[in-house]
Amino acid sequence: MTKLLKNLLKSPSFIIGMGLFLLTIGGALLLPFFYHVNLGLQASSYASPNGKFLLGCDHLGRDMVSMLIEGLRSSLYVGLLTGVIATTLGTALGIYGGFKGGWMDDFVNLVTNLFLVIPSFVVLILISSSLSKGRSLTLIGLIIGLTTWTWSARAVRAQAASLKSRDHIALARINGANTFRVLTLHILPYLASYVFMIFILQVASGILSEAAISMIGLGPLDTVSLGTILNDAKNQGGFGDGMWWAFMPATVIITVLVFALYIINTSMEGVFNPRLRK
């Protein structure tokens, strides 16, 4: 494991990706200490960038830099939340289904297919209409997580199925280890790096999903996210009026964040799977 880590640290693309990702996380966590984040209405609508408001203001006259910091925090929160939920659920059910096979596998398959065919935005609309308090960021994260785990389940399932026949696992089973023990002690460690890569991708997809959901007007009502910034830019005319600061910085931040995660993923793939090495 330490060797893999050492190899990872030797990979320039991993360093770039991780660097970018840590930079955004650091920005989200530390910037509020250096920059006075103020989400209040402070200036006229879509005030242009100036000395006081480095990236101008949004339609309500809120400082765009503050909005972006807050939005970045929200996006990271949603990404990590969906990542954890989807990876945990997907890994647990995927390993179990792949390892056990039989009707359990068929059932897990059915459930994964089911989530594949019901778009998450539909679930979100239907659930949010039944909650009087309205949509919160956490709710959106939960729903994205609960509707995208099937993807990880499918991926893990295939891996687990291929591990099943390996000697040491067969041996463990013959020696009477129960399923749970075999899964957690013998299969999971083998999949750890793979699961981590899935987690990275799920975080990225969570961030993109949140932005997409916010874009169609189903974003969180309790906070600012990068998606709601984009949605506002479109709906409140900043985009139509050609104010680049209304949507460009948010686009760049999402792209950089997701790009960083993608690079981390591919560089890990390169190290874990030597065939990809050049």
Partner: protein, 356 residues
């Protein structure tokens, strides 16, 4: 049963699972909205009733309740009432069976928002636009992405070193943000191309050159907004599949045997493409969901726009109808690819037919 027809058995087996999925999806699709507190008639009345006084509003409300089958009626169509004079609500179960019956007759009910338009009519009007935009774009993006990905995997070198990060970056851009960027640069700032709509404002759809010319002109930006990002994503997938296949024993063996390079590339492409077909199925199935935002950015007519306004107007029959359509298209796309892969890949076929 059907032991002597393994192919038919295989198709039936896969189809059976898909059908079961379909049934469960229909059920969920029906009951989810009804778990919520929202009542569609309240929403209509909120808008329709604002000019009316209280009694007139109540009468109007009852006529809508009847129209949408939310209250019990007798044989003559009179609303049945409880002892307090209020209409008796029809049960969820009876509504469900009614709904299933209607679905099988191809009737998804009446839209709340576009009342009295039928959901099926709305869908039929919108689907061609969505298909015309999405189908060629997805197919084209998929093919181009895969060819480039396979080349990058096989050739590596400088091409790969430039191409790969570019594709990765492209696939990291949220596609709607990319669409917005395109509109900003090409339409709002420079006016090269129209910012929105499916055809010019002074035309009516018809079989004439002007209409098609205008439609083609309006097609360019939405096309590229989907195409580039899709191709980028596919290329990345194909590249890593290709590299994976490149390391397999059969490719090594083919090289040892001295088989021609383009033949090996063909082996590689064909086998790496198989898992990519699943990706194609997902893209095609998810086409309607994906159309939502693209059509919104470009104010493009189509099903996505119809769903979006249904979402905003809480038009449940419309949302349900569209969800059902999404469900069916995802299932059909997956089923087709499942069967297709079964035929293209002897391993899958043998495995699933219970062969070796």
């Amino acid at each position: 049963m059907l032991k002597q027809y393994p192919t038919a058995r295989y198709i039936l087996h896969r189809g059976g699972w898909y059908f079961l999925t379909f049934l469960v999806a229909v059920t969920i699709n029906f009951f989810l909205p009804r778990l919520g507190a929202s009542n569609p008639v309240d929403i209509i009345m909120g808008k329709a009733g604002s000019g009316l006084d209280t009694e007139a509003a109540r009468e109007k409300e009852e006529s809508y309740l009847k129209e949408f089958g939310l209250v019990q009626v007798d044989a003559t169509g009179t609303i049945l009432r409880g002892p307090d004079g209020k209409p008796l609500k029809s049960s969820n179960v009876s509504q469900f069976f009614n709904y299933v019956k209607m679905c099988f007759q191809g009737d998804f009910g009446t839209s709340f928002q576009k009342y009295p338009k039928k959901v099926t009519t709305i869908i039929a009007e919108a689907v061609p636009w969505t298909l015309a935009l999405q189908l060629p774009t997805i197919m084209f993006g998929w093919i181009v992405g895969n060819v480039l990905g396979a080349l990058a995997a096989y050739r590596r070198g400088v091409f790969d070193r430039v191409f790969f990060p570019l594709a990765l970056l492209l696939s990291a851009v949220p596609f709607f943000a990319f669409g917005m960027l395109l509109v900003y640069v090409c339409a709002i700032k420079n006016g090269w191309l129209p910012a929105m709509g499916g055809y010019a404002g002074d035309l009516v759809p018809g079989f004439n050159f002007d209409f098609f010319k205008s439609a083609g002109y309006h097609y360019i930006l939405p096309f590229f907004s989907i195409f580039l990002i899709l191709a980028g994503g596919q290329a990345i997938g194909m590249r890593s599949m290709g590299i994976y296949e490149l390391g397999t024993d059969y490719i090594k063996y083919a090289k040892w045997l001295g088989i021609k390079e383009n033949k090996i590339l063909l082996y590689l492409f064909r086998n790496a493409m198989l898992p990519q077909l699943t990706g194609l199925a997902l893209s095609l199935g998810g086409m309607i969901g994906g159309a939502l935002i693209t059509e919104m950015i470009f104010s493009y007519p189509g099903l996505g726009m119809a769903i979006l306004s249904a979402i905003q107007g809480q038009d449940y029959p419309m949302i349900q109808g569209c969800t059902l359509l999404v469900t069916i298209s995802v299932l059909i796309a997956n089923f087709t690819v499942d069967i297709l892969i079964g035929f293209l890949d002897p391993r899958v076929k043998a495995g699933q037919m219970g062969g070796n």
